[in-house]
């Protein structure tokens, strides 16, 4: 059964590697999943070339939402902001290594939504993710 709960997800949920805050941060954004009250904040430090040098997240929520946030912020360090804008739903699912139904997909994608909103505004982030559905 526990495909949803691969060891990686449980491990990152219980022992996240990138939970915390960056102070000061160049980009900070936070948001809730109104359906379940999950909450994610992401802090980024970005150098003059638009490269993400440091990233951290904090928040409350289920294993899927918190583990995906941890994996996501890990994956973007060293990347250009422009590359972050291109991240898709599938990138998150590939990182988690699982398939998800529509309800849990929102948990998994909350961190990506927060990240994109931080990078280029909430409305665009919403439009972007809606298009992918």
């Amino acid at each position: 059964m526990d495909d949803f709960y691969r060891e990686l997800i449980i491990d990152r949920y219980k022992n996240p590697l990138h939970r915390g805050a960056l102070d000061p941060a160049d980009i900070t954004f936070e948001d809730d999943n109104p359906l379940c009250g999950d909450h994610i904040r992401i802090d980024l430090r970005v150098d003059n070339n638009g490269i993400i040098t440091e990233a951290a997240f904090d928040g409350k929520g289920c294993a899927i939402s918190q583990a995906s946030a941890d994996l996501l912020v890990e994956s973007i360090v060293g990347k250009n902001i422009e590359e972050v804008k291109k991240l898709s739903k599938q990138d998150i699912l590939d990182m988690l290594g699982i398939e998800l139904g529509p309800v849990r997909l929102k948990c998994a994608l909350l961190s990506l939504k927060v990240l994109k909103a931080g990078v280029y505004g909430l409305k665009e982030a919403n439009d972007d993710l809606v298009e992918e559905d």
Partner: protein, 417 residues
């Protein structure tokens, strides 16, 4: 445990499971369904499915005014269901039964029609901390539009309404007290009859949200002396899309229409109209005819078992479940002890988010609900963002509760807690 099992031998509704086709399905190959989400919506017996099917196959027509056999049959079935509803909650007249879409729409009807007509700026509306959003937001909308003031009866740590605070708040002379008959999260059954009598002493009217009570135990609106009573068909073996507002006759007659359109009028001119009589005044447009007929069939089904039997069965289930679930290490259960509550158990498990609990239980075919259950302020009250909720109905068994408990142990294994 054995004692409780023995106790239930007097009430065994096991054979009723065969009345619900969906309970025969497997969630996935080899995994039968354990449906513990009836507080969200109940499953439907064959009698309801067939009544609606038969209506569409044999009698489908729009109701009222049609002068042909189908229209007459449809109208007769529709109005017969109204009578069935009236009898079921002991309404003095079927004219006091207004069909709405659901509990939410019934409460909005009162807020919009009665509230905007009879309340004014500064008037107090007394609610409680344990309300479903459907009994909060309509009053918030009213307050932001006409300036009424909202006050709240707090919830105790045990999950009961604070009686002392209730009396203090009555001193503010609220015009309306609106509260839930039974909490959809804590399961708390509020002492509605006493509370209504108290509120009346202070001149307040009372709206009771019966979404979680009518499906599970006998309700008598005359005995309660309640002014408005709202409930939904889909939580009581009926279809979705049909709800009921009961109101005292003199109140309903004084209230202006809620929605305008066909059927709610007596006479229409280009610039004005005169309203129809109750209940039609509040039923604009073609209603959910098949759903009304389905609701009538659902009530007949519940009556064939007996509401007292159903209540006793659920009482047995919840007592057994409370003991069984509470004994699991790391579990916290919210709400009062079994004798003060209906068949709803909301819980959290240390170290595991309720969504994850629900997801893993689903692997075992067990359907529960996780989240805030449309009661965010109540969750705030207990400093929670979410709970897992198992809820029971007449078709559930003690074995299903055993399976729930076993599956919770699997959740603990998966998360290592």
């Amino acid at each position: 445990m054995d004692n409780q099992r023995a106790m239930t031998h007097s009430i065994d509704l096991r054979e009723k499971r065969a009345d619900f086709p969906i309970l025969e399905r497997q969630v996935r190959p080899g995994v039968p369904l354990v449906y513990l989400d009836s507080a969200a919506t109940s499953q439907k017996p064959t009698a309801v499915i067939e009544a609606m099917d038969e209506f569409y196959r044999l009698s489908n027509a729009n109701i009222h005014r049609g002068i042909h056999v189908l229209a007459e049959e449809a109208t007769a079935k529709y109005e017969k269901s109204r009578g069935t509803v009236a009898h079921f909650i002991n309404s003095p007249s079927s004219k006091q039964i207004i069909f709405t879409r659901n509990t939410t729409e019934a409460i909005n009807l009162v807020a919009f029609s009665w509230g905007r007509t009879f309340l004014k700026e500064g008037d107090v509306i007394l609610l409680t901390e344990m309300e479903h959003h459907s009994n909060l937001v309509p009053w918030q909308l009213l307050s932001s539009s006409i300036g009424t003031k909202l006050e709240f009866i707090p919830v105790t740590d045990e999950g009961l309404l604070d009686e002392n605070e209730f009396h203090k708040k009555l001193e503010l002379n609220p015009k309306l007290v609106a509260f839930t008959h039974m909490s959809n999260v804590l399961g708390t059954i509020n002492p509605a009859k006493q509370m209504i009598a108290e509120a009346h002493k202070y001149g307040a009217l009372v709206l009771l949200d019966g979404a979680q009570s009518v499906p599970h135990f006998a309700v008598d609106v005359k005995d309660l002396d309640v002014d408005f009573f709202a409930f939904s068909g889909h939580k009581m073996c009926g279809p979705t899309g049909i709800g009921v507002l009961y109101g005292k006759r003199e109140l309903l007659e004084k209230m202006p229409p809620f929605l305008g359109g066909g059927d709610m009028i007596k006479r229409v001119y280009l610039r004005e109209f005169s309203a129809n009589e109750i209940p039609y005044k509040f039923e604009a447009g073609t209603p959910a005819i098949a759903e009304v007929i389905g609701l009538g069939a659902a009530i007949n089904y519940l009556k064939s078992i007996g509401m007292d039997i159903i209540a006793q069965h659920e009482q047995n289930l919840v007592a057994y479940a409370l003991e069984k679930i509470a004994s699991i290490d790391g579990i916290t259960i919210y709400g009062p002890s079994a004798e003060k509550k209906g068949g709803v158990i909301s819980f959290t498990l240390n170290g595991v988010h309720p969504h994850d609990i629900s997801q893993i239980l689903d692997q075992y075919g067990i359907a529960i609900r996780a989240g805030h259950h449309c009661a965010m302020p109540l969750h705030d009250r207990f400093q929670l963002t979410a709970t897992a909720r198992a809820s029971f109905y007449l078709y559930n068994t003690l074995e299903e509760i055993d399976r729930l408990a076993d599956a919770i142990y699997h959740v603990k294994d998966t998360f290592g807690v």
